[in-house]
């Protein structure tokens, strides 16, 4: 039997651009108070406990909350009762150049209130990037799935018989990576990261860039605007660039080489990866995918004259080119877009015409898809792309 090291190794994530791993329920406007450059997130349990005897306050609070928070300004109510919101908050986050707050904030995933990066998110991102490194024959399987879903949709007069957009690639996934019990990904184990303090997190403003008639516009609800100030803002909690998180990782030989039960990823990969150690092999694969992806995005943003984003990607490319053998870049989390999560990077107009029929909920323009991008703004200006991290395996 091949010798397998049992020890797990340490991974270190360095956040390069604001990274948002979305938690479940949105944080509503009555749950936070803005004060200067900070948002304070109210702890209602403590607020109620400490003010239990102020009956009219409790009444006013419950009335406000029962209307869903509309026309209810928690800051004013607290001020009227002389309650310091700073003493009744769970945590505060700095507003990172946020010009306009919206009614809700996308929360970062937390464990018992603490910020961290789930192993499942990092592993999911790695899986999505490995998928983009597959050789042509395997990518073809995804194209086949898309065609068959398209055919089924055409043939079924009744919508209920068409393919659920959540499971279009099911067959391809099973043919390539087998069942969860036999998958090579069983041999890639990634723990949750440790926790970072809320000083390492902040609140970010995101806007949606939309290409309309070859021009950059900004999504503003019903219309697309030339002026980004008029665009809709998505407000989200994210981890700041520069923050570091660590956890443990095991990249077993079988993940790369395979065994009696499972074929490893090595024989499925179409990009040039030559390293022999599992860690370096995976890093090679991910670097090749990131490089291709970044290059395509640089071309896209150059075409639409987004110099700031081009320079941000150029910086990422410089980091990528200077990485060690045990390091890679990857994009992770919320607002990272269709291309980062799918094999759509290999699709053309024909594919997107089919996709438009299969996925009726999304607006798909086969001539140019995806034609939107979510970008992080700072002080009203385009700043950067979300979710890029550098991973070092030690």
């Amino acid at each position: 039997m091949a010798h397998e090291p049992f020890e797990s190794r340490t991974y270190e994530i360095e956040v390069l651009t604001p990274t948002i791993i979305g938690g479940q329920d949105k944080i509503q406007s009555f749950e936070f108070v803005k004060d200067g450059d900070y948002l304070y997130f109210i702890n209602f349990d403590r607020l109620l406990e400490e003010n239990l005897f102020k009956e009219s306050f409790i009444d006013e609070l419950s009335r406000g909350l029962s209307t869903g928070g509309r026309d209810f300004n928690i800051k004013d109510v607290l001020a009227r009762y002389n309650i310091d919101f700073k003493n009744s908050s769970k945590y505060k986050l700095k507003l990172e150049g946020v010009k306009r707050l919206s009614k809700e904030v996308v929360p970062f995933v937390k464990s018992a209130g603490r910020f961290y990066i789930p192993g499942s998110s990092l592993k999911g991102a790695i899986r999505s990037f490995v998928t983009k490194a597959l050789n042509r024959n395997f990518i073809q399987l995804y194209e086949n799935d898309l065609s068959s879903a398209y055919q089924k949709t055409l043939n079924s007069a009744d919508r209920r018989n068409s393919v659920d957009p959540k499971y279009v690639s099911k067959d391809a996934e099973e043919k390539i990576f087998a069942t969860p019990y036999e998958s090579p990904f069983k041999h890639l184990k990634i723990s949750d990261s440790d926790f970072v303090s809320s000083e390492n997190a902040g609140v970010y403003e995101i806007k949606v860039m939309n290409i309309c008639g070859g021009q950059v516009k900004w999504f503003a609800g019903r219309s697309n605007e030339d002026d980004p100030d008029r665009a809709v803002s998505i407000i989200a909690e994210g981890i700041k660039p520069g923050a570091k998180l660590i956890g443990s990782i095991k990249i077993e030989k079988d993940f790369v080489e395979g065994n009696q039960v499972v074929r490893g990823i090595k024989e499925k990969i179409g990009v040039n990866a030559t390293a022999t150690s599992p860690t370096e092999f995976l890093a090679d694969v991910l670097k090749a995918v990131s490089k291709d992806y970044i290059q395509r995005e640089i071309n896209f943003y150059t075409r639409y004259k987004q110099a700031q984003i081009v320079s941000e990607y150029q910086k990422l490319l410089n980091v990528l080119n200077s990485l060690d053998k045990n390091q890679f870049l990857i994009q992770i989390g919320f607002s990272t877009g269709y291309l980062s999560k799918t094999v759509g990077i290999f699709f053309n107009k024909n594919h997107f015409e089919k996709l438009a029929k299969v996925d009726r909920q999304s607006k798909i323009y086969p001539e140019l898809f995806p034609k939107t991008r979510r970008l992080v703004f700072k002080n009203g200006q385009v700043w950067t792309v979300p979710g890029w991290i550098k991973v070092t395996i030690k």
Partner: protein, 275 residues
């Protein structure tokens, strides 16, 4: 075979969840609140780590580490539609560290190798090698104070949180969310293990199986406990370890002043005195 109980090593420690811990109920029961993937809880509704989960995981890790995962050393424990679905190691080697520590079962066992040749093979009885199991693993109870008030304020349920995960379709990018309940990182459990020391046909175990058990603890720290381990859950660490040896003669005396033979904050600091 003559087996004499020489004494017991009692290992007391805490198991710390370094990342969220999901030890599922292993059935499809749906809890109030609709969490479809809940964790095991005791009669008081507090999560705990069943001794059987700990023992099973440690056995599996030891099988690998001792080179016992081979078709001729695995027996078919569960078969389904003519296939060996679950295999575990069991053998008749009297000195086998895995069987010696974790035990053998009575009855007939078919090795995987035999099964592949002939799914109806009758198998072999290891009864000649069966001696009482040396390792006893108690259920590990939650140390309530390890889930601080501050953590509790932020939990979805009294002692646990709900974690959401997405599967993303690689063609449409549509997400398919799943949820599961887990004990938050930082929670600690009170654990106790007993390793029996035997004299088998005149040969004394000494500290052999205690050392093997400590090896199993170390293997577990570098792996995971419970579900969704390859995606982040279940990293654990043994802390505040104390090992007491009770000689069989000690059971006739007042044993209140027994001194621990080893004491350490963590496994990498643990040193066994040799006597």
């Amino acid at each position: 075979m003559d087996v004499i109980l020489k004494g017991k090593y009692i290992i007391k420690c805490k198991i710390k969840a370094v990342t969220g811990l999901h030890i599922g109920e292993g059935n499809n029961s749906i809890e109030i609140g609709g969490i479809d993937n809940s964790v095991v809880k005791d009669a008081e509704g507090k999560p705990y780590i069943p001794g059987s989960s700990l023992k099973g995981k440690m056995r599996a890790l030891m099988e690998f580490a001792e080179g016992k995962v081979k078709d001729n050393l695995l027996i078919v424990s569960v078969k389904r539609s003519g296939k060996p679905e679950i295999c575990i190691h069991m053998c008749e080697d009297i000195d086998c560290p895995v069987c010696g520590l974790f035990g053998r079962n009575h009855g007939k066992h078919v090795t995987k190798e035999e099964f592949i040749r002939n799914p109806n093979a009758e198998g072999k009885d290891f009864s000649d090698a069966v001696i009482p199991t040396r390792l006893i693993v108690r259920d590990a109870k939650l140390i309530e104070s390890s889930i601080t008030d501050e953590m509790k304020e932020n939990l979805d349920l009294e002692w646990t949180e709900v974690k959401f995960e997405n599967n993303i379709d690689r063609i449409t990018s549509k997400a398919n969310p799943r949820q599961s309940e887990r004990v938050p990182a930082g929670a600690q459990f009170l654990a106790e293990f007993v390793v029996n020391r035997y004299e088998v046909d005149g040969s004394d175990d000494g500290q052999r199986y205690l050392s093997k058990f400590i090896k199993a603890m170390k293997l577990l720290e570098d792996d995971y406990l419970g579900g969704q381990g390859s995606r982040g859950n279940g990293k654990v660490k043994f802390v505040d370890i104390e090992i007491v040896y009770k000689d069989s003669s000690d059971y006739e005396k007042d044993s209140s002043d027994l001194k621990p033979i080893a004491k350490a904050d963590s496994l990498d600091q643990l040193k066994l005195s040799t006597n």
